[in-house]
């Protein structure tokens, strides 16, 4: 909805910090193709398994419980059980998967029935700038990733440079008029402002929309950006309602 993509058309969307592919799956359900970047190769591996599994199992509703477990736990004892869980589910799927080149009657649909693959994955740090040629994407999304640009990297890449590189390259690789909807968790107002300011410097217009601003748990910040220049320009952190009106769209 925020991306203002033409309904029914298949677009190419960038998923920044795509992780294990949950948000990408939502893009696929909406009929779009997407390319995801993440700094964690482990998460990308999970994402690519998920994509293959969803293609193979049309009727199988036994979703990625074990992958969700693997994603949620941060380490320690729980890790082994989730790893076993993932193995056992992969054990079941492996049989289907290894036949996916067509010989299996259940999951190996005829080539004509297979959808065009939707997802592509890259190992990359968004703070280094996005490695795409100009005007590649019809939109960009992100879930819970941008706040990482506010921290300095261990290799002494300072936050301001990382923010600048990210937003300028994002602006360049979006098609003219394309939008970005980037959900993030700022630690404080200063972080939210520095992110919004970096976006404005890169030439974006837009604003930060806060859902449930009074709830610590449910509060979510969405950085909503457009590559179209508006009269006001810049990215506002306060006047979210003005932003919504200036875009002339339904309320996010």
């Amino acid at each position: 909805e925020l991306l203002n993509l033409e309904p029914g058309a298949r677009k190419l969307v960038l998923d920044v910090g795509c992780g294990s592919g949950l948000s990408g799956a939502a893009l696929e359900r909406a009929g779009h193709a997407w390319i995801g970047c993440d700094v964690s190769r482990e998460m990308l591996t999970i994402a690519s398994e998920r994509a293959a599994r969803e293609e193979d199992e049309d009727e199988d509703e036994d979703e990625d419980d074990d992958e969700d477990d693997a994603m949620d736990d941060g380490g320690g004892g729980a890790e082994d059980s989730s790893e076993d869980g993932a193995s056992s589910s992969d054990g079941a799927d492996g049989a289907d998967g290894s036949d996916s080149d067509g010989s299996d009657s259940d999951s190996g649909a005829a080539p004509e029935d297979r959808p065009v693959a939707s997802a592509e994955l890259l190992e990359h740090d968004m703070g280094l700038g996005l490695p795409f040629r100009a005007g590649t994407f019809d939109g960009a999304v992100s879930v819970s990733a941008l706040q990482w640009l506010c921290y300095d990297n261990a290799t002494a890449q300072r936050s301001p440079r990382r923010l600048a590189r990210f937003f300028s390259s994002l602006h360049a690789c979006l098609r003219g008029g394309a939008r970005a909807a980037l959900q993030f968790y700022p630690e404080n107002d200063a972080q939210a402002r520095s992110i919004a300011l970096a976006a404005a410097r890169a030439g974006f217009s837009g604003g930060v929309v806060v859902d449930f601003p009074n709830s610590t748990r449910a509060r979510k910040h969405y950085l909503c950006l457009s590559t179209e220049r508006r009269r006001r320009g810049g990215v506002s952190t306060r006047h979210a309602s003005v932003f919504a009106r200036s875009l002339g769209e339904t309320t996010p």
Binding site: C37, S48, S87, D90, P115, G129, P131, A154, R161
Partner: protein
């Protein structure tokens, strides 16, 4: 990920999330990796080197080297393909297709269905599992492992 800690770098936090590679590839020990989505030529067409000192004109297109590929057929839709081709740099596609042993015509006739099918297959059906993307200006190699290109820049490549 929802509650970033103070005084901790992003890299340190990521290091504490240990996702070990379990047996995604070979759960049955049968030697058959079950097929995963890996980099295809449509993505190659979008990628460039953004290292320091390399402009978009110099860093695109990346030269594709493929040491291991897989083919998975997908549905051919001529109209959809033509729409996709509006944003594809065709010369770069021809060069990449050549790298995976597929020859495409130097210029594409929209009425030639056989040619369109060949283009569709090159774009959508060839998966590069192992290989590299090479910067045409500097020769810098971005490796592709398990179908995922690693575009991470080194410290000295940052502008």
């Amino acid at each position: 990920r929802k509650t970033p800690l103070k005084h901790t770098t992003a890299t340190e936090l990521l290091a504490t999330c240990k996702f070990r590679r379990s047996s995604y590839f070979d759960p049955c020990g049968s030697g058959n990796a079950f097929f995963r989505q890996v980099m295809r030529l449509l993505t190659h067409n979008m990628l460039m080197s953004n290292a320091k000192g390399v402009s978009e004109a110099e860093g695109y297109p990346l030269k594709l080297e493929a040491t291991e590929t897989r083919v998975e057929e997908t549905e051919f839709d001529a109209d959809f393909l033509k729409k996709t081709l509006e944003t594809v740099k065709y010369d770069a596609l021809v060069a990449a297709a050549h790298a995976v042993d597929r020859e495409l015509p130097a210029s594409l006739d929209g009425a030639d269905e056989a040619a369109l099918r060949a283009v569709h297959e090159a774009l959508n059906d060839v998966h590069v599992v192992e290989g590299a993307l090479v910067c045409p200006k500097t020769g810098r190699r971005f490796p592709i492992n398990n179908g995922i290109p690693n575009m991470l820049l080194h410290e000295d490549e940052l502008s």
